[in-house]
Structure formats: structure tokens, C-alpha cells
Amino acid sequence: MDLSPVDVKRLADLLHLPISAEDLPEVTYRLGALLGELQQLNRPDIWSMEPIPVIFGPDAGLSQPPRASP
């Protein structure tokens, strides 16, 4: 994604996030690359899924064990 250091600085300032002049280019490269890669996830099969963390699935083993009968 085409992202400029000015864009990133403006966004960071809105969030009161301190990004030094030295770090700004690398933060811009990293964010731009990630935003671009994530465009590949704009697909019907992915939109059909719910964004629930997989660790809460029914087979994740998180349910409580059955209580013993009194």
C-alpha cells in the first residue's frame, strides 16, 4: 500500500504515539507492507468466517468438566 511518512506521522500524532524521525521510515515501510499484504485477505471465503479467536472453538477443550452428582 502506498503510504508516506507524513501519513504515518499524522496518524501517530492523533494517537499521541511517539515515533522519532529516526524510526519513521522503518515504521512506514513495515505498516505499508502489512496493509498491502492484508489486502490479499479480501476474499469471499474469508468473509464467510466469523472473527472469533479459534481458541474459543468447541474443540478447544476450554469447557468446564462435568460436575459430579450430589
Binding site: V8, E26, V27, G32, L34, I46, M49, I55, A60, G61
Partner: protein, 473 residues
């Protein structure tokens, strides 16, 4: 008896000697401490060595075993853990300078379980800063691969990989978020298991990503891995995501072999265009070995694996940005530049893209579970390439294209299991012509570590890779 030969033996052999009182825990602990003293300056495996406390614990173990109160195979056994795991009254740095003097007031659940099993803590092991990958300057010393000091041991559980491989402990614990146990295990030529998420408590572990952090054993053999897992696995009420799934006996099926076991080769990770030639060859030979052992080999496809890297970065880094939200604002320059720029970039990721990555994560898990309906275990290389030279993989990014090429261009082999919350182990399956280890990854269904370890043990038993040791000094 107390020389090089002894210290290179697997934990299971040492345990048998300790149980029969043919070996003293005090003598064994002293041998490991001497070896740490001799080689830690070269390798930077340990951040903190607990010599006095270890010897005191060894004396106590010796007395207990002598009076017949033997607790099991970790009783009197010198081990070490990643310095991300809280240890009461012993500093826990998280590999950072910010927490260089942090002294926890309590033990992590895994530490409590290890102590209850009689294990002796030799010290705390080096790691990438805050268990992130790509640290440029390690505050506590640059870790070196024991097979060749010019090469990286990979991370983030670098010290755990080094210490287990170089026999600076009988076994180590690492923590695997996106591959941090399996990658250094592959690079250092040892066994490293990422258990199913929820099997091992995260209580008392400095967090990286709340939905993927998983502690696992790093050992020289598969049986040793099973022994350590047996002690640390199981429900913990202090971890809200701890599983109630019963813990089986992990050593029980290790000798059952793989005859009839259905082994799936992941098409997307067994691609000669993606893998280093020697990695591809070693993996192909491993597949042949499994077939010769009686396994049924078939190819499976998990299409979304090709996008695992951006899905993982979007979720893991955003979680980490939340973990570090306060410190990254108050002490940004106390972070390594790689960690800092990674956390800052993730802090700016839109929430809708985070949720899109969560949707993709759910689909990836669905695809992996579908594949695991047809086969019992999945096979792939642990990494596409052998470990890089120190410094080669940590130079600052020079452009967006550079990030894409280095962070997303290479397919990720370890993160699919992290995203899918599935277990996977890396075991040695060969060496490059330059003498660097190559790892084979075996993954499986949720809470079926016993099947994964059975497959790993069958392969290990038919090869001699695990019997080789790095030459030091």
C-alpha cells in the same frame, strides 16, 4: 563417569542413574555448572546462572532420593528455562533491558510444577527481546549457534535451543508464539514441542500474544520431551484459557511405531522452488523413511498457508502492541530498534484489518483440521532454509519492498500451527554440507501430542541425527 560422556546422555538415561542412586544430583549439577562456566561466554545461552540455589536444591534432592522419596524422572535433574518465565526471587528480564532487574514475587505455574517434580533450576535462558523475533542488539549478549558460532540459533527461545543442544542443561523450557520453540530447535538440532494452546499454563509468563503464547519442552530426544511435557501439562485455574482436557501418559506409546499411521505431506510447504535444496532433500529422505517404517503417505493441501505470515503479524503484533502500550510510550528508546518499530507499526493497524485477520485465522484452522480428518499427522520442513549467519537477518528495513521480501516473501512454516492452536514438534532430520542442523516439523490434531511424539520417536529411532553433538572448545 562424570565427564563429557555423561553430560551428553539424554535426560532419560540420567534419570535412570539418579533413580538407582548411581549418580549424585550434586555431582551432576556441578558438571553442568562447570560446563556453563566454560562455554556460556562463547554462546550467551544463559542470562542468569543460579549456582548456589541449584547446588542447595541438588543436596536436598540427593537426601530425598537417599531416603526413598524419589519423585520421578525430573527428581534431581538440572534444567533451565527461558527468561520469560517468572521465577520467585530470581530475576526475570524477558530479554529486555527494561526488566533487567525485575525480581518476581512468585513462580510461574510451570516452575511450580517443575520444582514439585524435583527439578533443579540451573538458570534463566537468553531470548529475543520480549520474545519477539528479529532483535538487533540483545541486551544480555548475542546468542550463538553451538554448531557454528558464526550462525544464528534462531529465536526467540535462542538460549533454550543452545543450552539443550550444547548440554548446558539436561532439558530446557521455551515459549512458542509463532515458532519460538520450533525454530531454535531446528537451528540447534534438538527436539522442540509446541503443545496445543491451553495444555500448558501461561500463568506467570511475560506475554507476547495472549492467544498464541505456548510453553514447550526443548530437549535432545523425543522421550525427554515427553518426560518434561508430562510434568508441565494440565489444567491450571490461574490461567483463564487453560484446558480441562485430560493429560495422557506421553511415554506410553513412544515405541509403538508408525505402521499404518497416515502421514500428510503439506503440498504448499514441500515445494522445491521455496525450500533450500538441502532442506528439500532432507525432508524428502524423511518422507521415505516414514514410508519404510510402514506409514501411509499422502499429499494434502492447506491453501491459506501461503498467507500465514501476514495473518500472524496482524494478530500477534497487534496483541503485542497492546501488551506494550504503556512502555512503548514512556520508554521507547529502551527497546531494541527492531522491536520498537514493529510494535509502533502494529499500533497503527486499523481494527477492521485485525478482525479480517481473525476471520482468516478461523479459515486456516478449518483447512488444517479438514486435512487432519484424512491424515493423523502433517509433515513439512521446520524452516525453508538453514539458519542464517548472525546479523544477516536483522539489518534495518530499507524499503517497503524490503519488508515484503524478508517478512512476507518467504512462506511461514511455523505460524500456521500457532494460528490454528494446534500442536507441532521440530526434530532433527539432517545436516547441511556445512554442518548446520535441519529440522522436520510434525503437526497434529488438538491435544494429540502423544501421536505426534510417537511419530517423532519412530523417526528418531531409525536415524542417528539426535546422537550427534556440537563440538565446543
Amino acid at each position: 563417569m562424570f565427564g563429557e560422556d555423561l553430560i551428553l546422555r539424554p535426560l532419560s538415561h540420567l534419570a535412570a542413574l539418579l533413580a538407582r542412586q548411581e549418580l549424585s544430583p550434586v555431582a551432576l549439577t556441578k558438571v553442568f555448572l562447570d560446563r556453563i562456566e566454560a562455554f556460556n561466554g562463547l554462546l550467551h545461552a544463559y542470562i542468569t546462572v543460579c549456582a548456589d540455589a541449584a547446588l542447595a536444591a541438588a543436596r536436598q534432592a540427593e537426601a530425598e532420593i537417599a531416603r526413598g522419596a524419589y519423585r520421578g524422572p525430573l527428581h534431581g535433574m538440572p534444567i533451565a528455562v527461558k527468561d520469560q518465565i517468572f521465577t520467585k526471587n530470581i530475576r526475570t528480564t524477558g530479554g529486555s533491558s527494561i526488566f533487567a532487574e525485575q525480581i518476581p514475587g512468585e513462580d510461574a505455574t510451570v516452575m511450580r510444577r517443575l520444582y514439585e517434580a524435583g527439578a533443579i533450576l540451573l538458570g534463566k535462558l537468553n531470548l529475543s527481546e520480549f520474545a519477539f523475533g528479529g532483535t538487533r542488539i540483545h541486551p544480555h549478549g548475542t546468542p550463538h549457534n553451538p554448531w557454528n558460532l558464526d550462525y544464528s540459533p534462531l529465536g526467540s527461545s535462542s538460549g533454550s535451543g543452545i543450552a539443550a543442544a550444547a548440554s548446558l542443561c539436561a532439558a530446557a523450557l521455551g515459549e512458542d508464539t509463532g515458532g519460538s520453540v520450533r525454530l531454535p530447535a531446528a537451528a540447534c538440532g534438538i527436539v522442540g514441542l509446541r503443545p496445543t494452546f491451553g495444555l500448558v499454563s501461561r500463568h506467570g509468563v511475560m506475554p507476547a500474544c495472549w492467544s498464541m503464547d505456548t510453553l514447550g519442552p526443548m530437549t535432545r530426544t523425543v522421550e525427554d520431551c515427553a518426560i518434561v511435557l508430562q510434568v508441565i501439562a494440565g489444567f491450571d485455574p490461574r490461567d483463564p484459557l487453560s484446558s480441562h482436557t485430560p493429560v495422557p501418559d506421553y511415554r506410553l506409546g513412544l515405541s509403538q511405531g508408525v505402521r499404518g499411521l497416515r502421514v500428510g505431506i503439506i503440498r504448499e510447504l514441500h515445494d522445491p522452488h521455496l525450500n533450500d535444496t538441502e532442506v528439500q532433500t532432507a525432508t524428502a529422505q524423511a518422507i521415505t523413511q516414514f514410508r519404510d517404517l510402514g506409514a501411509v503417505i499422502e499429499e494434502v493441501s492447506i491453501p491459506l498457508i501461503s498467507l500465514a505470515a501476514p495473518i500472524f503479524i496482524a494478530i500477534c503484533d497487534t496483541d503485542a502492541a497492546n501488551v506494550h502500550e504503556q512502555l512503548i510510550r514512556s520508554r521507547p528508546h529502551d527497546y531494541d530498534a527492531a522491536t520498537r518499530t514493529r510494535v509502533l507499526a502494529a499500533s497503527l493497524l486499523p481494527a477492521n484489518l485485525y478482525h479480517r485477520a481473525q476471520r482468516a485465522r478461523a479459515l486456516l484452522r478449518q483447512q488444517m483440521l479438514t486435512a487432519l480428518e484424512r491424515v493423523d499427522v502433517l509433515l513439512s520442513p521446520s524452516t525453508a532454509t538453514p539458519p542464517p549467519k548472525i546479523g544477516d537477518d536483522i539489518t534495518p528495513y530499507r524499503s517497503q519492498a524490503d519488508v515484503i521480501a524478508r517478512m512476507f516473501g518467504a512462506r511461514s512454516y511455523s505460524t500456521p500451527y500457532s494460528l490454528a492452536a494446534l500442536p507441532a514438534v521440530s526434530i532433527p532430520c539432517g545436516f547441511t554440507s556445512t554442518g548446520l542442523p535441519i529440522g522436520l516439523q510434525i503437526g497434529g490434531r488438538p491435544f494429540e501430542e502423544a501421536i505426534i511424539l510417537r511419530a517423532a520417536a519412530a523417526f528418531e529411532g531409525s536415524t542417528d541425527w539426535h546422537t550427534r553433538h556440537p563440538t565446543l572448545g
